[in-house]
């Protein structure tokens, strides 16, 4: 993200720019040393990242089941089965719904809070700390706290609703609300992260632009926001949106511990489907096909990010 993009030196810039004192010595000895220095990293990369990535794609064309003595290549059968499976489509739809709720929520709130914090000088550090706290705290532990807060009988949420004369609800046990309850937890957890990215973006907007806008008659806070802040934040915003989307696609912890995809699949999401198929039913081949779908979504988002990231550079 921004930090990486701002680090000086493009890929080609530094090394050749200056005449070297010992070019030949450096290259001859340096080359062997370089391979020795990078070898452990490259071997592990092959073993733990590139190999498994190729492996998951290959697996998706097999009927392999964990523990089975052999497997067969079955072409697109896993994909055919998957596309014919109601649960897969529910899972995909739920994942997209989750992304469609959490991303706007966490981005808009993150931006709003960053703007509020930045609009004054008092207690900046304190607010930043408080809003960032959920990002830090172990999500599983906090999910369990949320579960108790959403407890139908003794939970805080229903308690407050009752006090206000409203009807309580079995938030996590009702198929109409379970996914949205998880969305709320997702937004709560993610918005502080986005806030920090927006704060960094706001700080980097040159002050003289506001002065210029004021000279041009942009007197109200809103017109300054519309004419300066928003356009200048554009690249950061797009970046935050993409990152939030990627993270939301990966939603798993809250689902696994709070709803197990239920009730009746109403909160089933892609990674949970993959987990259940691959690690509970040990249908590795089929789970691999689900993973490939997940991967396609996340990688296309990442692609958008890297394109936007490049455009982002000159604002840094």
């Amino acid at each position: 993200m921004a930090d990486a993009a701002t680090a000086p030196g493009g890929m080609a810039a530094a090394p050749g720019a200056r005449a070297r004192a010992f070019p030949t010595l450096r290259q001859a000895g340096g080359s062997r040393a370089a391979y020795a220095l990078t070898a452990p990293a490259l071997v592990l990369m092959l073993l733990m990242l590139i190999g498994p990535l190729a492996g998951v794609i290959a697996l998706s064309f097999t009927d392999y089941q964990l523990g089975a003595p052999s497997f067969a290549w079955i072409g697109l059968s896993n994909y055919q089965e998957m596309f014919a499976d109601r649960v897969f489509w529910i899972s995909l739809k739920n994942t997209l719904t989750y992304v469609a709720v959490v991303v706007p929520g966490a981005v808009a709130l993150g931006l709003g809070i960053a703007l509020l914090i930045q609009s004054g000088t008092g207690l900046r550090g304190l607010y930043r700390t408080i809003y960032f706290l959920p990002v830090m705290a172990t999500l599983i532990a906090m999910a369990i706290v949320w579960e108790f807060m959403l407890h139908p009988q003794f939970g805080l949420v229903n308690g407050l609703l009752h006090a206000a004369g409203l009807q309580g609800h079995s938030w996590l046990q009702d198929r109409a609300t379970a996914l949205y309850a998880l969305c709320v937890i997702g937004i709560w957890q993610a918005l502080g992260f986005n806030m920090v990215l927006f704060l960094a973006g706001l700080v980097s907007i040159p002050k003289h632009l506001y002065d210029a806008a004021e000279l041009d008659g942009a007197a109200s806070a809103w017109s300054r926001f519309r004419l300066v802040t928003w356009p200048m934040l554009g690249p950061v915003t797009l970046f935050v949106v993409v990152i939030s989307a990627i993270r939301s696609f990966q939603v798993f912890d809250t689902v696994q511990v709070l709803t197990k995809g239920g009730p009746s699949k109403s909160s089933e999401v892609l990674i949970y489907t993959m987990y259940a198929e691959g690690f509970e039913f040990f249908r590795s081949g089929y789970a691999a096909a689900v993973t490939v779908v997940f991967l396609a979504f996340v990688l296309s988002l990442t692609l958008i990010k890297s394109v936007l990231g490049r455009r982002d550079v000159h604002y840094a």
Binding site: G51, F193, L197, T291
Partner: protein, 278 residues
Amino acid sequence: MKALGHTRPWSVIRHVLLLAGALVMLTPFIWMLSTASKPQTEIFSSDLHLIPYHFALWDNLRDAFARANLWRYLLNGLIVTVSIFGLQVLVALPAAYAFAKLRFLGRDVLFALVVFCILIPPQATAIPVFLLLHRLGVLDSYAALVLPFTISVFGIFLMRQFFKTVPDDLIDAARMDGISEFGIVWRVMLPTAIPAVTAFGIFSVVAHWNDYFWPLIVLNSEHLQTPPLAVAQFRNNEAGTNYGPLMAAAIVIIAPLVIAFLFAQRRFIEGITLTGVK
């Protein structure tokens, strides 16, 4: 923006809005503390109150430690996160130095490969890595928790960017002194890179202390459980009956990172937002 900050009414509105939001953000933490401080009878009552009538935090904590071997789980978390970070540094720093400061055939291609690997989400490789560990016979062990994360391509990328800013003269001088390339990594580059390594360390430790997905997949044995797994297990065993001890256990699990965060906020925020990849 600047002009706004100086007007009195706006300053009040700003604080009101931010405090209201902060209250919402803190509610789960407050309610966790409140519930962990209440005896059973107060938890299971329809009368909502924040401050317990009878303060039972110590009882609940004692109960939590009696029901689950929390010290062991905290120790597991420490062992796993420290091992991962240590090995990541050991693997990534030499590679980062080579990519930043040495010229060798295929460097740019290999580095492009590193950058590509940053894009791979950790869930995507879970099945093959699981099968690999199964094959190696190391499932359900510390090795299963640590091995897959010994390679941090993001760490290589980050440290390379940092090393590029280190002046070449420093390295040339070290070579003149007869220090080997390997020695340069640890004796010249590492000392200059402490801030970057710290930021990366916070990023790494937070990510793996909080990780639930991977330990859930590779572990069976209770005595190896990491903190998130342990608290989920605790919840499965006790939910519906013992919320006080459960909330106390949750406090114990999040406490180390939250306390560290409160002491070094700036560094933590810097470290965690280092990447949007995770």
